[in-house]
């Protein structure tokens, strides 16, 4: 086989993956437009586009630009953050069940956010950094509890669940004592996008962007980490530092999501899995693809949440759980075994 031929085959694979990424990106844009058009007040796609790009005032402009666009953008950004965070954790922990809410990263962020809301209700910009610290500390604790000559996936999931429910108890206690400080308590604990506006979008996008760029830079190193510690070390990768940076990224991303929508589950678990089935486990492609898919799914789920039982609005977390829980069970039964036997 000649060099030219093998390069050809390589590019073919590459082009397939790029195509998938582009399709997902287009889906995300479509989801954005659909989500903006559907609602209590139906607006045609043409009017949506006009309201975004042409009009400066009017009813459509007000609904689209002041209510639906920011909310949809928050949904998209949160979808990106949680999918990437889940993808990173699944790789670093070499565990298909890892995701920010299951291993307690989200609850750590949630606790810090709740405390911030109670102590400093007027300083919204403090939310994300506080949530980040909470998420990072929780991840470290879980990481060290489940570490013994390598990460044991079962110990990790179990300790994550234990820590999650422990922290959950604290959060709920706080919410009971200060119900007025945290608006929409139910929304916070299951994850809701109700009444999210530009303020929230501005809170989340800078962190999401930094997290995304860092994640992309680290993707090749995460691939190498997937070959096992010994091989990774043999290839000259600084394992401890790489893991730490990746965990920082995952915490940052999860924290920024939690600080605007609350403790939304399952996105971080399902999206990386579905993407992996379609595009393979090379993180250089997996990360961008799952970011776009995560954004698209979140925007669509929120559209469903807003409209399924009109005029009542469901928290998006309920829709996500309805879709996510069965998938999680499927992983536990079949998919999990398949992944873990590789250990």
């Amino acid at each position: 086989m000649s060099t030219v031929e093998s390069l050809e085959a390589l590019k073919k694979k590459h082009s397939y993956k790029i195509t998938v990424i582009i399709i997902f990106a287009v889906t995300a844009v479509a989801a954005f437009l659909i989500s903006s058009s559907i609602g209590a007040f139906k607006i045609s796609l043409e009017d949506v586009l006009r309201a975004i790009f042409v009009e400066k005032e009017g009813l459509n402009r007000n609904i689209i630009w002041k209510i639906r666009v920011p909310r949809t953008l928050v949904a998209g950004a949160v979808g990106i953050c949680l999918s990437l965070s889940g993808g990173i954790l699944q790789g670093v922990m070499r565990n298909p069940l890892a995701s920010p809410n299951i291993i307690g990263v989200s609850s750590g962020a949630g606790l810090a956010a709740t405390i911030t809301l109670v102590l400093f209700p007027t300083y919204e910009y403090l939310l994300t950094p506080a949530a980040f610290i909470g998420a990072f500390c929780t991840t470290l604790v879980i990481y060290f509890i489940s570490w013994k000559d390598g990460i044991n996936p079962f110990r990790m999931v179990l300790s994550g669940i234990a820590i999650s429910s422990f922290i959950g108890a604290i959060i709920n206690t706080i919410l009971i004592f200060f119900p007025d400080r945290v608006q929409n308590t139910l929304g916070f604990t299951v994850g809701s996008l109700a009444a999210r506006t530009w303020i929230h979008f501005n809170l989340v996008w800078p962190y999401a962007l930094v997290g995304f760029i860092l994640t992309m830079i680290m993707s090749r190193r995460l691939n190498i980490l997937m070959l096992g510690d010994e091989i990774a070390r043999s290839l000259g990768l600084n394992i401890e530092r790489t893991r730490m940076i990746l965990i920082l990224c995952a915490s940052l991303l999860a924290a920024s999501a939690v600080s605007v929508v609350g403790m939304l589950g399952f996105v971080g678990l399902i999206i990386p899995h579905i993407t992996r089935l379609i595009i393979g486990s090379d993180y250089r492609y997996l990360f961008p693809a799952s970011a776009f898919l995560g954004a698209a799914i979140m925007m669509l789920c929120d559209t469903v949440a807003r409209t399924i039982v009109e005029p009542i609005e469901l928290p998006v977390g309920i829709i996500m759980a309805a879709v996510g829980a069965p998938f999680f069970l499927y992983l536990l039964r079949g998919g999990f075994k398949k992944h873990v036997k590789n250990k």
Binding site: S6, L7, R220, M226, L227, E230, S234, L235, G236, D282
Partner: protein, 274 residues
Amino acid sequence: MLKISNLTMGYEGKRILKDISFDVEKNKITTLIGPNGCGKSTILKALSRAKKPQNGKIFLDSKNILRIDEKKLAKIMSILPQSPKAPDDFSARDLVGYGRYPHMNWLGRLTKKDYDIIDWAIKETKIESLQHRMVSTMSGGERQRAWIAMALAQQPRILLLDEPTTYLDISHQFEVLELVSRLNRDMNITVVMVLHDLNQAARYSDKIIVIKDEKIYKEGKPEEIINKKLLEEVFSIKVKIFEDEENNCPYFIPMKSKESSDAFKLNKPFEKCS
């Protein structure tokens, strides 16, 4: 080339190796042998920095390996652990590509030169026709060759192999060891490996190091090691030694194990167990 001096290692309070010193000569194949759990793999772990020694130092060209930059070291030395695992959908070629990691800049783009080296490594290990197959679908022998190809793509001067023939059938064991010996001969790669099969160690090594009871029991050329007395003392087996004239090395066949002969003498094996 590699100098191991006063190495002491252990796990959780249990000492495994004590004060071990030896040299690895350039362009030679050095093989570590010894009973299960004697710490031969632990020595490889120290060489690859996977485990810190409790005491002692390891020098590469008279530089302490703990002081050498990771990527620089990865260009000199490559390690294949026992049965490494890759994600299910990585192709052999992907794997070999990762061998170029230590040579890349932080952007991580493969150049024409990298592709040439990848092709070369694939050719040397004879996996051309398999290169686009998923590693997970390959047979044990093919997979081992793919991993060796990855190590080759690092262009190392030293190759460390931890039981490279474990789980392989006899023809694949032979194939892998022939490959290792060819890499050593044709490319002057220094090899340090752990082997279980003593006859294979005798045939493919320039030097054998026998580890027993935390110490180096003996080191030397195969013909100095493979003898009745050593095999009985270290592995508790009685053997008959022959000379393989074709390959110019000693080989043996086990006659009986020391313990089983004792048990037979007692004639009441079950009583002994209880």
